[in-house]
């Protein structure tokens, strides 16, 4: 409460000084009157000789601390009053700033959570992960075998601990007495994982290697167990094995893969029993190797040691070494490793650019409005300067008003950001990676927004404030000041706005066309009336399902065809290494193809076109496979010809297996992603148990979008495939739409902001041209009285506007090209330097320029020459 006491004291001082000065002047006047001066003259003289009373009071007050803050508060009050007096001005400025700041905040929230934040672990900077750059797929590869991990753990000295970590989502889980339809994400880790990560379970303890125990995540504890306090010691059924809950992880920790939270963790020694299709022998199990550095060892020393040790290990293992020992690297793991991060990096960069540009544009707009408004206050400012106000004080006050606008924009922006963040996070959840992020606005986000708002306020407030405070006193008070600053600065701002609009409109064009191209392409299959049913793994040791499930589903009214594949369309499948006898591939990248395992009638059900050869038959369903289908691109890339029926190849390391014969060539399809129709694709047959649809994707072709068909399919599965639970059922066209969520969002935001940019530029230009024509009223009057026609006047004004517009284009087009190069990776079916898009954007912007200038031009042309001349 000291500040309150001080404030009261300051008020008293204020009053005391004022009273003191008044009595000073009164005493002096009395003295002068005693000397025979008339009262009026004595009063005036006493006052004159005293000097500036207000300044004296203010300086006296300034002696006491806190006045700086008090002044700020005073400016603040003044600013708020002004804002209230101009609701139109205020709302346009605040709204555009709110959009800019809100968009930036929302995108920063996601960027921060996905790309920037450290894992919530102890000393994250000490964590490293073993990695290897794979030239074939242009990605870091993080897996080493269990045998390599244990050898590394034994032989390295640089680390205080080495942990193994992998994850899986295909298993069969009973939690709290109920079947969990999942997906359940399982972290498969070494017994020291939690201690190496530096995470202490918030309840219970971690597990050791060899234990039949599980640590569940906080979220899983809440969603599946209702936060039961007696959770420790409960059992979870995993793939038919009862596993004891040993602990609950802290709320903040969701594993080392950012965006893909784990539901539970088990020791890797348990994985062969608890995880569906996990290799039974541990030695060649793939694991990710996470290391915690000893405090005294540098990452580089550790990497040098690890390279030497791994080279020895690889030598001992020979061909079985998982990685090339020469390209081993230790990467920082403090932020975790995340595939979604790589996937979303580019869209986030694009959105950041767009949001940054729109904020810049909102700044230019606010600066322009602020300039116009402070122009109207030129006389007020001049008067205050004349009365002894200091220039710094005036600049500070104008800046305060800008800051106030910016902060109001920031506050509204935070609300918008909450909405935007929710939309972005929904997109992430629905996207191909099922990203789950904790996006609650935290201190970092609030600090970012506050900093952005203040920066914005200074950015758009400083130039107008400085310009106005340089007013020429004498001219301004007389009312003839024209302020050359406004003109220069205003023109510059309009050019900037036009340039930014070009960039944003061009971006919008590129992204909207990308979305349209993706949607309208020939997919290579028929997406209408096609249902995708994804199933979970069935528990081990259940009875084999009776045959005839497919006939049963086929008998549902409205169903035309049914088939199954392991992965299904529109999601990543597996990569296989293809070797064609007698045709060695030069680059490793040329050996990789995508692969799915399909059942009979799959092509027919999807509506894929067979170009040559035959479809797969029930007799082809066997392990190891003897025959396969390939797509056109695979044929051309690996065989150099589309005529490949009867040719042979081998996959993976299985050189001992008989070669696989190609029996058919399928037309290219947008199988794994909509963007990569030209990927080489191999369709292998399922095994002999292809009717067991555990952990697969069923495809069901119907005559029309029959309602309730999903229910009927589920019922048939319950009856004829016991133990198999359904993870999801989707209509393919809806799933395609969903898979375009990111593209749609980017196109939508780019389009919205492009439109907004045009609107703001239009407003800015309109204001500018109105101002200019008003200032040139007398000049136009003279021109008209000398015989200029209205058309000529219109041409003159439009010409002026066009000159500004073209200046904007000159700056904007190269900037737009630079931007589109940055986002080139996101485009589809359109080049980053697409001439038509550039031309279109330029044309739209010029049209807007003409539109903005039209009204002022008409107004100028309608001037009455005599009245115009009299105006001066």
């Amino acid at each position: 409460m000291k500040w309150l006491r001080d404030a009261i004291r300051r008020r008293q001082i204020n009053r005391a000084v004022a009273e003191d000065i008044e009595s000073h002047i009164a005493e002096k006047a009395a003295d002068l009157m005693d000397a025979g001066m008339p009262e009026r003259e004595a009063q005036l003289r006493a006052r004159r000789e005293f000097g500036n009373v207000a300044l004296s009071i203010e300086d006296s007050r300034a002696v006491w601390a806190w006045t700086r803050l008090e002044r700020v508060l005073q400016d603040l009050r003044h600013g708020i009053r002004l804002m209230m007096r101009n609701p139109g001005f205020t709302s346009v400025a605040v709204l555009s700033l709110a959009l800019g700041i809100g968009a930036n905040t929302a995108i920063f929230t996601v960027t921060d959570a996905l790309l920037l934040k450290s894992l919530p672990v102890e000393k994250p900077e000490q964590l490293l992960v073993f990695a290897n750059w794979d030239d074939a797929i242009h990605q870091w590869v993080y897996f080493f075998t269990w045998r390599e991990f244990t050898a590394l753990e034994r032989r390295t000295r640089s680390f205080s601990g080495l942990a193994a970590s992998w994850s899986a989502d295909r298993t069969n889980i009973q939690a709290n007495g109920a079947e969990d339809e999942g997906p359940v994400h399982i972290g498969i880790v070494s017994g020291n994982y939690f201690s190496v990560m530096g995470v202490r379970p918030s309840l219970g303890r971690s597990f050791a290697d060899g234990e039949t125990a599980v640590v569940i995540s906080y979220a899983y504890w809440r969603s599946r167990f209702g936060m039961r306090p007696d959770i420790l010691g409960q059992t979870v059924g995993m793939n038919g094995t009862a596993v004891t809950v040993a602990g609950v992880a802290p709320r903040s920790f969701t594993g080392d893969s950012v965006g893909q939270p784990m539901d539970l963790w088990i020791p890797v020694t348990l994985a062969p029993r608890a995880v569906f299709r996990w290799p039974q022998r541990l030695d060649n199990n793939p694991v990710r190797v996470i290391a915690r550095l000893k405090p005294e060892v540098s990452p580089r020393q550790a990497e040098a040691e690890a390279k030497i040790v791994y080279r020895q290990i690889a030598q001992e293992l020979g061909r079985a070494a998982a990685q090339n020992p020469n390209s081993l690297a230790l990467l920082p793991e403090g932020q975790g490793i995340s595939r979604p991060r790589e996937h979303y990096r580019q869209p986030l960069v694009a959105l950041t650019i767009i949001a940054g540009l729109i904020l810049l544009l909102a700044c230019a707009n606010a600066a322009n409005l602020q300039l116009t408004r402070s122009e109207a206050r030129r006389n007020e400012v001049a008067l205050r300067l004349a009365l002894g106000a200091r220039r710094g004080r005036i600049v500070r006050q104008l800046l305060m008003e800008s800051l106030l606008l910016a902060l109001a924009g920031g506050a509204a922006g935070l609300a918008l950001a909450a909405w935007g963040t929710a939309a972005l996070s929904r997109l992430g959840r629905l996207g191909p990676w099922g990203v789950e992020l904790n996006l609650a606005p935290d201190g970092r986000v609030l600090a970012y927004t506050a900093a952005l708002s203040i920066l914005t306020g200074v950015l758009f407030g400083l130039a107008p404030a400085l310009s106005v405070s340089k007013v020429a006193l004498y001219a301004a008070v007389k009312g003839t000041s024209k302020g050359p600053g406004r003109f220069q600065l205003g023109r510059l701002l309009v050019v900037l706005q036009v340039a930014l609009s070009v960039v944003l409109v061009m971006g919008a064009g590129l992204f909207v066309r990308t979305l349209r191209n993706l949607k309208s392409q020939d997919l290579g299959f028929e997406p209408e009336h096609l249902m995708l049913v994804r199933t979970n793994a069935a528990p081990r040791g259940r009875k084999a399902p009776p045959a005839g499930l497919f006939d049963e589903i086929g008998s549902i009214a409205g169903v035309r065809a049914v088939s199954v594949s392991q992965f299904g369309i529109l999601r990543p499948a597996m990569f296989v290494e293809v070797t064609v006898p007698g045709r060695p591939a030069e680059k490793p990248a040329d050996r990789i193809a995508s692969c799915d395992r399909i059942a009979p009638r799959f092509l027919q059900t999807l509506g894929m076109r067979l170009l040559a050869g035959r479809d797969l038959m029930p007799r082809d369903m066997r392990e190891p496979p003897r025959v396969a289908l390939v797509n056109q691109s695979m044929a051309l890339r690996f065989f150099g010809s589309a005529d490949v029926v009867g040719r042979r190849f081998t996959i993976g390391d299985q050189s001992s297996d008989p070669a696989i014969e190609i029996v058919g060539v399928v037309q290219d399809a947008a199988y794994n992603t909509l963007r990569n129709r030209g990927a080489a694709m191999v369709y292998m047959p399922q095994g002999a148990d292809w009717q067991d649809i555990s952990d697969s994707t069923l495809v069901v072709r119907t005559a029309s979008a029959v309602p309730g068909i999903a229910m009927q399919v589920r019922e048939k599965l319950r009856a004829f495939a016991p133990g198999v639970t359904v993870r999801s059922t989707d209509w393919t066209d809806a799933a395609i739409d969903q898979s375009l969520a990111t593209e749609r969002m980017v196109a939508w935001i780019a389009g919205l902001f492009g439109g907004l940019a045009l609107l703001l530029a239009c407003l800015g230009l309109y204001g500018m041209m109105s101002y200019v024509t008003a200032r040139r009223t007398s000049e136009i009057g003279i021109r008209m009285s000398l015989g200029a026609t209205p058309a000529r006047v219109i041409r003159m004004v439009l010409g002026h506007a066009l000159a500004l517009g073209i200046a904007g284009l000159i700056v904007g087009v190269p900037a737009a090209l630079a931007e589109s190069r940055l986002v080139a990776g996101l485009l589809f079916g359109i080049g980053a330097r697409d001439v038509w898009t550039i031309a279109g954007a330029a044309l739209v912007v010029i049209a807007i320029v003409v539109l903005a200038a039209w009204l002022p031009a008409r107004r100028a042309a309608a001037l009455d020459a005599v009245a115009a001349l009299r105006c001066q």
Binding site: A16, S23, H24, E27, G51, D59, V63
Partner: protein
């Protein structure tokens, strides 16, 4: 905050302290006194007196209380404190040193 002064920094304070050493005064009388005792050689701006007084109040060299003037007007009487006396002595000695220095520099030019 910095204004052009005819006096060197601290001079006004020193004169105020010196004047007040003779007895408590109010602002106007203080200004008159300083003007008068300098035989009107020093024109101190009356307005600058009050910020200086506030500074000195804050530093604890003065205290102030309300009183009544000879003309029966409510006025504020300023009184020097022990700290103010000490300050004055220091200022005078450093002022004298400075004056001596300046005089030495200026003398040859005059002769």
């Amino acid at each position: 905050m910095e204004q052009q002064r005819d006096l060197f920094p601290g001079a006004l304070e020193m004169m105020i302290l010196q004047t007040l050493r003779r007895g408590p005064q109010h602002g106007y009388a203080l200004a008159q006194d300083i003007k008068g005792s300098s035989d009107d050689l020093l024109q101190i701006e009356e307005g600058s007196l009050y910020p200086a007084l506030q500074r000195m109040l804050k530093a604890g060299w003065l205290n102030a209380e309300w009183g009544v003037s000879a003309r029966n007007r409510k006025i504020r009487m300023y009184r020097i404190t022990p700290a103010g006396r000490k300050q004055l002595e220091q200022q005078i000695s450093s002022f004298e040193r400075m004056l001596k220095g300046i005089t030495r520099v200026m003398r040859p030019a005059q002769s």
